[in-house]
């Protein structure tokens, strides 16, 4: 009996000594390798939490699935190609940049009740879905959300920057969605070379006027 107990204690001690080694082997934390499509932080439709019902697909993912692309993925790639080559413009005034272009679809497998018919419900007039996307935007950034449906772009309503990198918007449809921000890349700046160049031109032109006037006056006196 004593020997059995000693053997059991020895086994337990060995196992407990080995556990840090096991723990060390499992402490690998992967590094972030890329920034995927914006995640959905929250979603509500018809007073139901629908966060688990939505799938956000990036262009990269759609390309990878090219051989078996869904209709939504094909539309995303087609819209991207048109936007990228300039054959499609968004109905926005002013200068803008498309920060993200993704496809948002319902994933029936992710829903609590797959038979709920989310797509059909949303298609009924007057129904809408509220979604919070994690875009990682600065709290001061104004985001315009556009949804592409049946060949047309429609602006989402009630777009709110929540100040924590996420935005919340109300959508009447889902599908290919563009998240746009103001393009400030061409904004004139007082410190840049263009500003100085115009100052130099102004000064030179003014000097030329003065010189010409002086010469003209001398000539007239003669």
């Amino acid at each position: 009996m004593r020997k059995t107990i000693c053997l059991l204690c020895a086994v337990i001690m060995c196992l407990s000594l080995a556990s840090p080694a096991f723990a060390a082997a499992n402490t690998f934390v992967p590094s972030i390798t890329y920034k995927d499509a914006p995640t959905i932080e929250d979603s509500e439709m018809n007073d139901q939490n629908t966060s688990g019902c939505l799938v956000v697909t990036s262009i990269e993912t759609a390309r990878k699935n090219a051989a078996n692309a869904t209709e939504a993925e094909k539309e995303l790639l087609d819209v991207y190609a048109q936007l990228d080559n300039g054959t499609m413009k968004l109905p926005l005034s002013g200068d803008y940049v498309i920060r993200e272009l993704v496809s948002v679809t319902f994933d029936q497998l992710g829903c609590i009740d797959p038979s709920h018919g989310h797509e059909e419900w949303l298609e009924e007039e007057g129904n809408c879905i509220t979604v919070s996307f994690n875009l990682g935007v600065d709290k001061h950034t104004h985001v315009t959300v556009l949804v592409y449906k049946d060949g047309q772009w429609t602006a989402a309503e009630d777009v709110t920057n929540n100040g924590d990198g996420t935005i919340t918007c109300t959508l009447e449809d889902i599908g290919t969605i563009a998240f746009c921000v103001e393009d400030i890349s061409d904004a004139p700046q007082t410190g840049d070379a263009g500003f100085l160049l115009w100052v130099v031109i102004l000064v030179m032109a003014a000097a030329a006027v003065v010189v010409l006037l002086v010469l003209r006056r001398k000539e007239n006196k003669k």
């Binding site: 590094s31 972030i32 390798t33 890329y34 936007l83 410190g191 115009w198 031109i201 032109a205």
Partner: protein
């Protein structure tokens, strides 16, 4: 006589009109940029820094080259999208100090948390993102636009200093460069047996893929932390520099290496620039090899490195700035 005067008068009037129009237009452009622009006028970025009553300005007697190691294999290719999957896993700023004739190396942790520009469709900036430095290269197509984004990100992080050149290399370039110099000697202090059993302990001359495993892998190696990998990368640079110096006297060596590694790199250095830098800086000793200290924390899912602000400030001033007067 009258006709000639009239022609002269007309020419004078025309010239004056043109000059006045030029003045008006340039005046409007100046007014537009200083008054009419609806946003807040951008402050002219002065690169003078003041610390404890001492003014520092960016050193003009250094040449900086950003070397990036991109976590992709195979020849460089465009993602044909506004984003790509090539994170900048290694970010070393080579600082060639022409006064002291040394090359200092500032090695930035790939998990350094900072603001970076986001590139949207068409390559335009679409705001910023706060995240790991390595992600700065994932914006853009994976080519020059992504490299420029990383350059701009690091430049802004280092108080807006000018980064003169960049070289980004895919993983395969490491093996090519490694073997081009005849292998690289390192002292292996961690067990690589689970990753590459051909890498033993102690003094090892790395060949081919061994070099890739040595500088890239941290899973199943030692404490599996990025900080340890950074140390290995710095040890590798030391060994590579030594092996490179032994070969650089051969005029054809640089050209042949460049041709071999070209499919795996993206750079804004022409062959002329490379030759010039080799002849100018080839004999420089390696000076300081520093990594900004800070805290490595586990975020929601991934590691996040927060550089110590005071230590980073001192480092930037010491390596990249000089006191006025």
């Amino acid at each position: 006589m009258k006709k000639r005067l009239r022609a002269k008068d007309i020419a004078f009037a025309a010239l004056m009109l043109i000059l006045v129009l030029v003045m008006l237009y340039s005046g409007l452009r100046i007014v537009e940029s200083t008054v009419l622009y609806s946003g807040e006028p951008e402050e002219f970025v002065s690169k003078t820094i003041t610390r404890d009553g001492v003014d520092y300005f960016p050193r003009q007697d250094i040449t900086t080259v950003l070397v990036m190691g991109i976590d992709r294999f195979g020849p460089v290719e465009s993602s044909e999208s506004y984003q790509n999957r090539g994170a900048s896993d290694m970010n070393m700023l080579l600082i060639f100090d022409e006064v002291n004739e040394v090359c200092n190396v500032l090695h930035l942790n790939r998990d350094t948390m900072l603001e970076m520009p986001v590139l949207g469709i068409g390559g335009k900036e679409a705001g910023t993102f706060y995240g790991q430095l390595a992600l700065s290269h994932t914006y853009g197509s994976g080519l020059e636009d992504s490299c420029e984004n990383t350059r701009n990100t690091i430049s802004a992080f280092l108080y807006g200093i000018t980064i003169d050149y960049y070289v980004a290399m895919n993983m395969d370039a490491i093996a090519v460069l490694n073997d081009a110099v005849g292998g690289v000697n390192v002292n292996v202090t961690e067990d690589f047996s689970r990753v590459d059993p051909t890498i033993g302990m102690g003094a090892v001359t790395l060949k081919g893929e061994q070099a890739i495993h040595f500088v890239r892998t941290r899973k199943d190696v030692g404490d599996q932390l990025n900080l340890s990998r950074i140390q290995r990368q710095q040890d590798y640079i030391d060994g590579f520099t030594e092996a490179f110096r032994a070969k650089q006297a051969d005029e054809q060596f640089i050209l042949s290496v460049y041709e071999e590694v070209a499919p795996y790199i993206v750079t804004d250095c022409s062959m002329t620039v490379i030759n010039s830098m080799v002849s100018r800086y080839g004999d420089y000793a390696i000076g300081e090899v520093v990594t900004p200290p800070g805290e490595n924390v586990l975020g929601e899912e991934y590691y996040e490195f927060y550089a110590d602000e005071e230590a980073l400030d001192a480092l930037i001033l010491r390596l990249l700035y000089a006191p006025k007067g």
